[in-house]
Amino acid sequence: MVEIIKTKNLSAYFGEKCVLKNINIEVYKNEILGIIGPANSGKTTFLKALNRLNYLNPSYREEGEILLEGENIKKIKDNVLRKKIGIIFSLPQVLPISIYDNVAYGPKIHGIRKRSILDEIVEDALRKAYLWEEVKDRLKEPATKLSGGQQQRLCIARTLAIEPQIILYDEPCSGLDPISTAKIEEAMRELKKHYTQILVTNNTKQAARISQRCAFFLMGELIEINKTSILFTSPQNKLTDDYIRGKFG
């Protein structure tokens, strides 16, 4: 298994509050890494630290290192980094433009102007997100007209269109109906072939379904990380066991 991301003693603060304590974790290429834990355990902060989105908040501070393919991400320009590491947010957030334009936004930003190429990229991304069949006849319609589940898949397509290496998911299915959730999980399984994915989820069953390895975060600390099957059947830490059984969180 090839290592693609590694964090070394990563700690994070919002103002005085410490939200991540000394996280040491590796992420392997082409895996789906699940991150579970109760609210406020730092899962989202960890995710957003990887593509430096936390810095949108002026009170954010970091210590330690994050390495992407061996290189410290601080040495990579923000916009270049974020092209390599895409993110899907928990609430489907589409821009108030057409479906086509939403997906094409990323490639256009990165300099692709030719219509024919954009058409290809958009179709390809929508197919991979399992959305193409539903929208292929109405690409020019406003994206806001789609249902929640469709919008979230649109967000996935939007991210795929910039051809990232890594895709981050921040509780992508919260608030979605079971069918949409199933479609998204199906998409994630297919995407495994070409992308590395990290899934933060409140839904332990979902983590058990899709991820190969799983990490348990609690109060900003990494409590345990292991192959999913092992973590769920015989966790080594009592806290992990309690959480999975639903005793808290």
């Binding site: 916009n79 821009l95 936004y105 991210t159």
Partner: protein, 281 residues
């Protein structure tokens, strides 16, 4: 006296007072309308004044005001929008930023005649532009900055933060995000604020007194270094310096000036309502 009776009396008084405020507004408008409408005809609007302003029309003043409006916009819009972008998207919460905000508040409170003095000293004399459309426009532009900056700031802040997050997370740079994901949605507010600000500039007299306005010019301006006649100054001049000016002409001038300002205000309000309805998010 019980509390409810007291309330009725109090509210009644408040209503009367408001009426005292409102009636003169309406009265003034109707008064000008009544006395000025007779002068408004094609000749009045398209002919220059004759016979010492007592006959003819106010065409050059209208043209001059329009030139000044355009000139003011050319200078104030880019600078105003860029400053607002700086304040909302780039500025950190520090002393320098507070200083800028304080400067904006102060610019909006500077008396118009002080702008006139400043414009005269800086643009007419120091930069040697002479009394010209250029000097007048620059002066009016600085005066208009606070309104444009405030309107632009509000328009930018109204764009949801999620848009920026989405754009950045797709690998766009900060400027790309502003240009493609924020500004397009702010133009409505920016336009509305600009038109409002220009409508005020159109009605100002003091800043143009020594920077551009001329009492009478026998020809229309040919370059930005020319002086120009302007509606507000024209009204001032004919009501204070021309004895026995026919009532219709002076009221007609006032009516045209008010009309111009009102139309611009109306356009601004209609645009504001339009963009509010069209709210995309």
């Amino acid at each position: 006296m019980n509390a409810h009776l007291r309330e009725k009396i109090a509210f009644f008084i408040l209503g009367i007072v408001t009426l005292i405020v409102i009636l003169p507004i309406l009265g003034t408008l109707f008064y000008i309308l009544k006395n000025g409408i007779s002068a408004i005809n094609w000749e009045f609007l398209t002919q220059p004044p004759r016979n010492g302003m007592k006959e003819g029309g106010i065409f050059p003043a209208i043209v001059g005001t329009i030139y000044l409006i355009i000139g003011t916009m050319v200078f104030s819009l880019p600078l105003g929008v860029l400053s607002a972008i700086y304040l909302t998207e780039y500025a950190k919460d520090n002393f320098f930023t507070r200083l800028i905000k304080l400067a904006i508040v102060n610019l909006s409170g500077v008396p118009s005649i002080v702008y006139g003095l400043f414009g005269f000293a800086l643009f007419v004399i120091f930069l040697k532009f002479g009394t010209s459309i250029l000097a007048g426009s620059l002066t009016l532009a600085i005066m208009s900055l606070p309104v444009i900056i405030t309107a632009t700031k509000e328009a930018l802040e109204a764009v949801p933060q999620s848009f920026r997050e989405i754009s950045l997370s797709l690998g766009a740079t900060k400027w790309q995000t502003i240009r493609y994901c924020v500004l397009p949605y702010a133009w409505g507010g920016i336009l509305t604020g600009t038109i409002l600000s220009l409508s005020r500039a159109a009605g100002e007299t003091a800043p143009i007194l020594f920077t551009v306005a001329a009492f009478y010019l026998p020809y229309l301006p040919r370059s930005i270094f020319d002086q120009v006649m302007a509606l507000p100054y024209h009204l001032y001049a004919i009501s204070t310096q021309v004895p026995n000016i026919p009532k219709s002409i002076s009221f007609g001038t006032a009516l045209v000036l008010i009309g111009l300002v009102f139309i611009m205000n109306l356009i601004s309000s209609i645009l504001r309502a339009y963009f509010r309805r069209k709210k995309l998010w």
